[in-house]
Amino acid sequence: MRTDDLIEALARDPVPALPSVPRLLLRAFALGLPVSLVLFAATIGVRKDLLPALAEGWFGIKLLLVGLIAVAGWQLTGSRSRPGGSVPLTGVLAAGLAMLTAIALDLRIEGVADWSERLIGDNAVKCMLLIPLLSLAPLAGLLHALQDAAPVRRGEAGAAAGLLAGALGALLYGLHCTDDSPLFLGVWYLASIGLMMLVGAFAGRKLLRW
């Protein structure tokens, strides 16, 4: 085929272009999040002391911190889903700074005497199991969306999707979990999200060819 003929054919292609990358990612949420929500509601559900916990402070800070991680994940997934542009690190830096500040506040307000108790908490194993479980459907949705995008570094794109999906899973699980200390968050939540990044990187390398 002559290249000019190909160009003519492409210019006349009646199939419209796919939606923009942010739209593709939002569509992935629409597919993946409901599955996790149903799973969440049907199994563990929201903690019983939701309102008093919100008034107490640390619970709200926990949700805010996980929300910041989700924002960083969104930024990175968007940027890694196509070539060009630099890696946006503002979200990661903001989340990291906020996390360190919260840990310092925790140690100052709650005292350093029993820091290890707060770090180990009551639900470490449950947390490490349920966050990944609640993240799986969003991760599948995001990887599906990334197949329609143009990731050139498959592993990085998959890891970014894992970060975003892991943060979403952690946000849901955080509504149930009664361990609110930033120390607990900094270890178990982050480890669970890190696990999802590994899963995402591995799956991305396998699945994101184009």
Partner: protein, 192 residues
């Protein structure tokens, strides 16, 4: 000049997005020209015949077309376009060499010959290939001269595809060393 091209491409691609077929045709034509030189250089560096460039240009144009929605109109067109093109160029070279895991740079390292753009299957090279151990020579012939796929060669020689790739890799290293030493023989690295 680079700035002008960027501005042109951005204007054309934005117009194409809003349905301007003529603008899109111009954009693709302009990009094709740009890609052609790029593919030819990439092929030459990888020791492949630049005559294959047109195939790669077409493959890349198709990729640019199917991925056109991933350009963020707040970003410059150039880096995005080069990213897509580079991705497809590497892909196309891998497909043609039967390697699964090499980068363009590695290819250039393994195959420093044909830097002038001469055809791989020229008689000098064929002579050197025939100095390789028999199995390696037949693999190199099948893949580079006859253009067969690694999987097909593996099936015919009753080897695993991985073993074919390893043998090919060794053969290429031997050939590269032979070229480097400037002698026509010397397949010392011939284990396999």
């Amino acid at each position: 000049m680079v700035h002008d091209r960027e501005a042109d491409w951005k204007r054309l691609l934005l117009a194409a997005r809003s349905g301007d077929e003529a603008a899109y045709r111009r954009f693709l034509g302009d990009v094709a020209q740009h890609l052609r030189g790029w593919a030819q250089r990439g092929l030459t560096r990888a020791g492949r015949s630049p005559a294959e460039a047109e195939d790669i240009v077409q493959e890349t144009l198709i990729a640019i077309h199917t991925k056109r929605h991933t350009w963020d109109d707040g970003q410059p067109v150039g880096p995005w376009l080069h990213g897509v093109a580079r991705h497809k160029l590497i892909d196309a070279l891998r497909k043609r060499t039967g390697h699964d895991h090499v980068s363009v740079d590695e290819l250039a390292e393994v195959l420093p010959m044909a830097a002038s753009g001469s055809d791989l299957a020229s008689s000098d090279i064929l002579k050197m290939v025939s100095s390789l151990p028999e199995r390696q020579a037949s693999i190199v012939n099948a893949i580079f001269v006859e253009g067969q796929r690694a999987a097909d060669v593996a099936a015919r020689l009753n080897m695993s595809e991985g073993a074919v790739r390893v043998a090919l890799h060794r053969a290429l290293k031997t050939l590269a060393a032979t070229f480097g030493s400037g002698s026509g023989t010397g397949a010392d690295d011939a284990h396999g």
